[in-house]
Amino acid sequence: MSIQTFLDIALALLVIGVAVWTIVARDLFVAVVAYAVYGLFLALVWIRMYAPDVALTEAAVGGGVTGVLLVAAGKRLDMSAIDIDRQKPSTTLAILAAGCSILFAGVLMIVILSLPAPAPTLAPQAAAAASGPGAGLGNPITAVLMSYRSFDTMLEKVVLILAVVGVWSVGADQAWGAAPAPFGPDRPYDALVFLAKALAPVGAIIGFHIFWTGADAPGGAFQGGALLAAMWMVALMARLIELPRIDARWLRLALVAGPAVFLAVGIAGAMLAGSFFAYPSAFAKPLILSIEAFMVLSIAVALTMLVAGPPYRKGAP
């Protein structure tokens, strides 16, 4: 066995170990922190699967932004965990649940080991979408997202907007239109302020770079947008800037800009290029990059507003 095999097995054990920790941890907050760590280790597994684009997304969204969301929620819910622990199921039920789960995972493993060969693949079509007429993108993943399955990608942005609407609508009636509750303490630590001032500009440039380079190399609108959202959150935690009111017009325009531009180009494609979401081959790449630019904006705003939560007003129930 080569050294890489040992590293792969060690990484697999590490991921499972951290996952077990999230499940068995006694403390709610410990479980939440373990989950954020788990997301980062999972990104390493994705690299081993020749999926750097997924690894970037997993590290930025699955580990990073989800981590912020859950840690913030875990801190606010820490008190609620005390009296709910009385409802822990009996040992018999826990053993039964463990048996069912092991059985399920076992069947899944047998299925994985007995998948048919040769494996079905859409790689030729995707490669054609990347290099064929109407694209000219070096990154096949971006070609799939923006050209081969563009309608899915557009609808996914709509899902993000629906989630933001859902989060906003669980706020108190009296708070409607106000800004969400602030991220950080009223007087942030000096170290945090310094970190935000030093990190946010650099991180924002890296975010733009990941978006721009995504046409030809690993990266793209999701990863870049998530990084920009993270930098916005760092600045919010240090109270360098404040969250916008949710009825601000620019905020709502920024939220819908991505899918709106995407849909407009798609409809124009139906008239100019012959089919819905087809790009005229002469200027497909600039068109795709400009759609992605608006998508980065919408993704960054939507992710931040999803973490920020519903509008908040002091005293409102």
Binding site: I16, L69, P89, A94, A97, A105, L108, A119, A123, P140
Partner: protein, 113 residues
């Protein structure tokens, strides 16, 4: 065994682990963590499918990988909505029970407020 198959087996184990957590943990935030474990395990299985589909000069099939990227973002959006609902439940009632019997117990005055 290739790294991809190993990762898919890890994914299967994660699905089982998440399923167990989903059943035994009464706290909704713990259930959400467990549910996310199930989701990421399913994504890993998808990653192996992408690796198996290597063809046309690519080391992987980009279609399943693109779907996983979409899936990660949608899973985050769903988690954010779930967190908002749990926090709202806690803010209005001071508790987060999902067990309906807790809310209808006659000596429990929080169910009427």
């Amino acid at each position: 065994m290739t790294p991809a198959v190993l990762a898919a087996l890890v994914g299967a184990a994660l699905v089982g682990l998440g399923l167990y957590g989903l059943i035994v943990h009464p706290h909704p935030l713990r259930k959400l963590l467990a549910f996310n474990l199930v989701g990421s395990g399913a994504f890993l299985v998808f990653g192996m499918v992408a690796r198996r589909g290597a063809a046309a000069g690519l080391a992987f099939d980009p279609v399943p990988q693109a779907m996983v990227i979409t899936g990660i973002v949608v899973a985050f959006a769903a988690s954010a909505l779930a967190v908002a609902l749990v926090l709202r439940l806690f803010a209005t009632s001071g508790r987060v029970d999902l067990d309906p019997r807790v809310w209808t117990r006659p000596d429990d005055d929080s169910s009427t407020s």
